[in-house]
């Protein structure tokens, strides 16, 4: 047998690149090499050729404490296993020790970029359990904050992703605009993040005077901002090379893997729970569902940018047509009475006392409440056992489910593209680990 170990490795790597261009899977490489180099008898020793690399948990490009165990053959990813759980905080378990409305601040902190969505998934599930109707103004206010939150989440995604691909400036511009969105949250809710604004039955407080003017100014600035990002990235040579035709997974496979949100829409499937499910005020609002064609990294970027524009449209419609009326349900068994009533009405005082100390009791039952978060279907499952505390709170986190598709997206691709694919996946580790 010829001694070919010295040269074989170089030839193999060179040929691997050619074979990859021809569309031959890396797993078939050994057979293919044997065919192309007849007469040379050799034994490939896979364990010597394969290199297992541990990415993370503290690699900055993993967007959190995500660890990836990657098997590399040369520069080509042959296998990938995500290892998660580093920021598992047991929020679902902790919720079982809280009364229903005290669990709201807990669930907000799972996916720390989409706190309004977490609140809506949970609060909506509890409202379904007790059969409470949310007044129209509260519904519109919720949608207003959720859409601003979607823009905020996408801006953070865009900034960090562009940073991964070497576009430092985009990061600064995105965070400039993101802070403007957070300013509006601060104005209406008192907090920039983790606002605990949604109550069971409505929202905590009406929007203050001058809020509309502020949001309209932010919308104007965001429109300018989005144009800036587009002119920076849309035709950027480096960005195009890095994202075009990278990380493609077929639409059918994505659906099998349970992937939802912008990732699924980028592959051409117009699936949006805001349209399909029609919860809250969404049926009354006009917006489009942007879809991609190929499903590569570039489509994912374009879909998210288009979604931000649609969200701006929704926010403008809400500012134009916000209905008057109460912002929280009038059912004193579930919603806190107005503060002013406490000094004049004994009944209000009793209700307030009972709600704050014991909370309300919920008849046994189970509800799964799905909504469209910036990352896909965010479902909250709440089980009631008749007491004033939930017996089980479970979140179907889109980041957690979408992460399963990372292996399919990166298999056979270069390891440098893995960073890009992971960034386009937009995983939030707080949501994955909960």
């Amino acid at each position: 047998m010829a001694r070919v170990e010295d040269t074989l490795h170089d030839r193999e790597i060179r040929q691997a690149g050619e074979l990859r261009d021809e569309g031959i899977l890396v797993s078939d490489l050994t057979n293919e090499l044997a065919e192309r180099m007849p007469g040379v008898e050799f034994e490939l020793e896979p364990e010597q050729e394969m290199l297992t690399v541990n990415m993370g948990p503290h690699h900055p490009a993993t967007h959190g404490v995500l660890r990836l165990v990657v098997d590399l053959e040369g520069e080509v990813v042959k296998d990938l296993k995500p290892v998660i759980g580093y920021v598992h905080t047991g929020i679902e378990k902790s919720c079982e020790t809280m009364t229903y409305w005290k669990a709201i601040p807990f669930v907000e902190r799972m996916d720390y970029l989409s706190y309004f969505f977490n609140m809506q998934a949970y609060v909506g599930a509890v409202e379904k359990l007790i059969g409470l109707e949310v007044p129209p103004r509260a519904q519109w206010l919720r949608v207003l904050h959720m859409e601003l939150n979607r823009i905020h989440s996408h801006l953070v995604w865009l900034g960090t992703t562009a940073l991964d691909l070497g576009a430092m400036g985009v990061y600064f511009y995105c965070f400039r605009d993101r802070d403007r969105v957070l300013d509006t949250f601060e104005m209406s809710t008192g907090q920039r993040m983790h606002t605990r604004y949604f109550q069971i039955g409505g929202v905590a407080e009406d929007i203050p005077a001058g809020y509309e003017k502020k949001v309209r100014w932010v919308i104007e600035q965001l429109r300018i901002g989005i144009r800036q990002y587009e002119s920076l990235l849309d035709n950027n040579e480096i960005f195009l090379i890095r994202t075009k035709d990278v990380g493609i997974v077929s639409r059918e496979r994505l659906l099998e893997l349970g992937v939802t949100g912008p990732l699924l829409r980028a592959s051409g499937e117009p699936w949006d729970l805001r349209k399909e499910g029609g919860y809250l005020a969404y049926p009354e609002l006009e917006f489009d569902v942007p879809v991609g064609t190929v499903g590569d990294g570039y489509d994912r970027y374009r879909v998210r940018l288009a979604e931000m524009k649609e969200s701006l449209r929704i926010v403008e419609q809400i500012l134009d047509g916000l209905p008057e009326g109460p912002w929280v349900a009038d059912d004193r068994k579930y919603a806190l009475p107005p503060r002013a009533e406490l000094s004049t009405s004994m009944e209000s005082l009793i209700h307030h006392f009972k709600l704050v100390t014991e909370g309300f009791r919920v008849e046994p039952g189970e509800v799964y409440n799905p909504i469209e978060s910036p990352r896909g279907e965010l479902g909250c499952f709440v089980m009631a056992d008749g007491s004033s505390k939930p017996a089980r709170v479970h979140f179907r986190e889109p980041s957690f489910v979408n992460l399963q598709s990372l292996r399919d997206m990166t298999l056979g691709e270069y390891v440098a593209d893995l960073i890009q694919t992971l960034a386009m996946l937009d995983p939030i580790l707080g949501g994955i680990d909960r």
């Binding site: 378990k93 992937v259 189970e366 479970h394 489910v401 399963q404």
Partner: protein
């Protein structure tokens, strides 16, 4: 959502082809659910996915539930979705707790220093688990793992690949063993963790918080 009569029709049709697979239905707060025999869950899910007119092809969520102290104690919920009609259907596999017959404290795992350190983080849990004991049809299947008796549900990863991580999560938190899962390991808790934390009888805050001054009260904590 299929309405309550529609749910009964589904029940009748499934039970015509797979007698006894679906035990009951429930329609509560606009949420439709089929309650199925855990050993037959694959038949029911395949039927719901492939039968023309049903086509619940998208599985949005798999999660566990613990109805302690009621019996049967556990359930695995599969949230199915028909994307054409936007209909959701929950399939609940209800499972009795095999440890319930033993000492009442058996399901509450004793966390002792002797138990930690013996586990092999490399080996998959499935390797360590003894072969699934298929008892007579009346008795539900159980599996022995690290000296505990766990309930068994067939895995549906090959039918719905999205169930992969989610079944691991249910195993991790509830100690429900998924037979046939390709890589059943803990996913969010550490691999050497002992106990099933989302069970209702698992205490919150059971672990001591370690500070330097605790060395006296927790000797050997650094091991």
């Amino acid at each position: 959502m299929p309405d309550a009569p529609g749910l009964e029709l589904i029940l009748a049709e499934i039970n015509r082809e797979n007698p006894g697979a679906v035990l009951d239905t429930s329609f509560d707060r606009e949420q439709a659910a089929l309650i199925v025999d855990p050993s037959r869950v694959r038949e029911v899910l395949t039927w719901l996915r492939d039968t023309p007119g049903q086509e619940y092809t998208f599985m949005s969520s798999v999660h566990g539930a613990d109805y302690f102290p009621r019996s049967p104690r556990f359930a695995v919920h599969y949230e199915l979705l028909n994307r054409e009609r936007y209909e959701r259907l929950r399939v609940k596999a209800v499972i009795a707790d095999p440890a319930a017959g033993a000492a009442t404290a058996a399901s509450m795992v004793a966390i002792g220093p002797d138990d930690i350190g013996g586990s092999d983080s490399e080996a998959s849990v499935a390797d360590k688990a003894a072969a699934v004991v298929n008892q007579p049809a009346s008795e539900p299947a159980t599996v022995e793992l690290d000296g505990q008796t766990l309930p068994v549900v067939p895995s549906v990863v090959d039918l719905f690949p999205t169930a992969d991580f989610q079944e691991r999560e249910v195993f991790d938190f509830f100690g429900i063993f998924f037979e046939g899962h390709p890589d059943l390991r803990r996913i969010l808790m550490p691999e050497d963790y002992i106990g099933w934390p989302q069970r209702r009888d698992f205490p919150v805050g059971g672990e001591p918080v370690i500070f330097t001054r605790d060395e006296v009260t927790n000797p050997g904590w650094w091991q």
